[in-house]
Amino acid sequence: MIEQLYQQVILDHYRQPRGRGHLPDPKFMHDGANPLCGDEVVIEFQVDGEVITNIRFSGQGCSISQASASMMAEALTGKTMDEAREFIRQVYALLKGDVEPDLETMGDISALAGVRKFPVRIKCASLAWHVLEDALKGLQATAQSK
């Protein structure tokens, strides 16, 4: 059971994170933390028209929270903001068990389904996605108010 949580892909993303670091001139930056365990994730990204062109993350915390941030940076780079929003919804559904993992559409992220048996770790797995979701909401609100 524990091996379902800590699958190879998770360890890989934890140890060789994609997109860990900072942007020289981040256009958008948003952070979040899981106060119960202290996990922290900061997301920076850039936008070209509707497309998210660049995602970097920093922060610290358990392997799940950091691997999940890495997977997100990888999966959402190049997606439009609408696509990203839809993708985030899919990830929540995956974590909750509402949809089954599908390697084809979700890639590495399927491995996050392992948290289902560890309810308290769902917050770790969803942290980075919540941070980006919040950031996109902020963007939308700014755009609409113009």
Binding site: A33, P35, L36, C37, G38, F118, P119, V120, R121
Partner: protein
């Protein structure tokens, strides 16, 4: 002396849910009429705490999985339940304290920080010390002013009078929901509306109301609402402060310690959001879990039913107390909560209490932590019988018999 009222509640059946009222070696059985001081605890409350300590005990929050996560979940579920009990918008509006007293002190200390010299706080003349002293200290510290809303001769609060006290300097109107001496049920919804129209905030001391009537903080529209677990069939050591989110979010921390910060460095501290920011240190975990069970107990009976039943019983008591020559009852008689504060001739309330005690009837005697009200009523002390859902007419009958005995011992004829 039968009553004609329909019995909406079977008090005897309810007493059977309480170890305190089931025959036991340790104590003779008691007619307990001191519910204004603290209520007895149903078996369900005691057992929920025993269950917690026996099988789920762990500290909450801060990175625990397994048993710790379960304890955190039970704790946060209780917070949700309290929010629902009060009809708060969300559980983040529920701050766990150690009691009404701490809840009010917390507001006076944190919200009170924003007070300016010359600002005014209105409290009523019937308040408990817990809703007097924190404000006295605050106005002194801030150069503000405490305005006392006098009671009528009947023992009520007059809304006209409040109108005339409200000024553009009024920042807070803090009043009790039900008086622990007069038993007056104050019109808190109307009070909050008037206060808000004048731009003031409101705090309701609900220590004596939550166990005895339905309450809905959104309907009352108060800004703060405070009560204790132990007067609500729950454990000691736990209380609640409800506050509207938009106000709680502006408050600085109260006590400082673990659990209420995001990050501490020697040169900089950032606070956690609500409710955590206002809850430093290990909270009263088992007590909160026990309080959850107490709310379930009350709602299983139904707060509408409890209110109606206690009013029936109160009417019966009011009627029968008239039999006692020389008895002076305080507070309104047209409508009131189930508290009966009185004196009998020149007999000191402690002596009334002692005589009743030998008859196995527990009442309270003293100033009930409301000295200014005692001064207004012209009596430093009263005897007080206070009802709860497990009391019935037979208890009132015993009280009346006991009061006749008081008159006899003190040769009042």
């Amino acid at each position: 002396m039968a009553t004609t009222t329909v019995r909406t509640i079977d008090a005897k059946a309810i007493r059977e849910l309480f170890p305190f009222f089931t025959p036991h070696e340790e104590m003779r059985s008691l007619i307990y009429l001191d519910n204004g001081a603290t209520t007895q605890k149903p078996r369900a409350v005691i057992e929920r705490m025993v269950d917690f300590y026996s099988y789920h005990n762990a500290n909450v929050h801060r990175g625990a999985y397994g048993v710790g996560a379960k304890a955190s979940e039970m704790f946060e579920n209780a917070r949700e339940r309290i929010a629902q009990f009060l009809n708060a918008k969300e559980s983040a509006e529920i701050i766990i304290t150690k009691g009404t007293t701490e809840s009010i002190n917390l507001v006076a200390s944190t919200w009170g920080e924003s007070l300016q010299p010359g600002d005014e706080i209105i409290i009523s003349e019937m308040e408990h010390h817990a809703n007097i002293l924190p404000w006295m200290q605050l106005v002194e510290r801030k150069g503000a002013k405490l305005i006392v809303w006098k009671i009528t001769d009947e023992g009520k609060l007059d809304l006209q009078e409040l109108q005339s006290l409200l000024t553009d300097k009024t920042r807070m109107v803090a009043v009790m929901h039900i008086s622990n001496v007069l038993a007056t049920v104050n019109p808190v919804k109307e009070i909050c509306a008037l206060a808000h129209k004048a731009g003031a905030k409101t705090l309701i001391d609900a220590a004596q109301s939550v166990a005895h009537m339905p309450v809905d903080v959104q309907d009352i529209d108060c800004d703060f609402f405070a009560f204790s677990g132990h007067k609500l069939y729950g454990p000691t050591g736990v209380g609640v402060l409800y506050g509207k989110r938009e106000i709680l979010e502006t408050l600085p921390p109260y006590q400082r310690g673990g659990g209420m910060i995001k990050r501490v460095a020697w040169d900089q501290v950032s606070w956690a959001g609500i409710p955590s920011r206002l809850e430093a240190g290990t909270p009263p975990i088992a007590e909160v879990v026990g309080l959850h069970a107490a709310l379930d107990f009350v709602d299983e009976i139904g707060r509408d039913k409890i209110e109606a039943y206690e009013w029936e019983l109160t009417q019966y008591a009011l009627e029968r107390l008239q039999e006692i020559p020389g008895l002076k009852l305080y507070g309104p008689v047209d409508y009131r909560a189930g508290l009966l504060a009185f004196n009998v001739g020149d007999v000191h309330p402690h002596d009334i209490q002692t005589v009743l005690d030998t008859e196995d009837i527990a009442i309270r005697a003293g100033n009930h932590c409301a000295h200014p009200l005692g001064d207004r009523l012209g009596t430093p002390a009263t005897a007080r019988a206070s009802l709860a859902v497990y009391n019935d007419e037979a208890h009132i009958d015993a009280l009346i018999k006991g009061l006749h005995k008081v008159r006899e011992v003190f040769q009042l004829d």
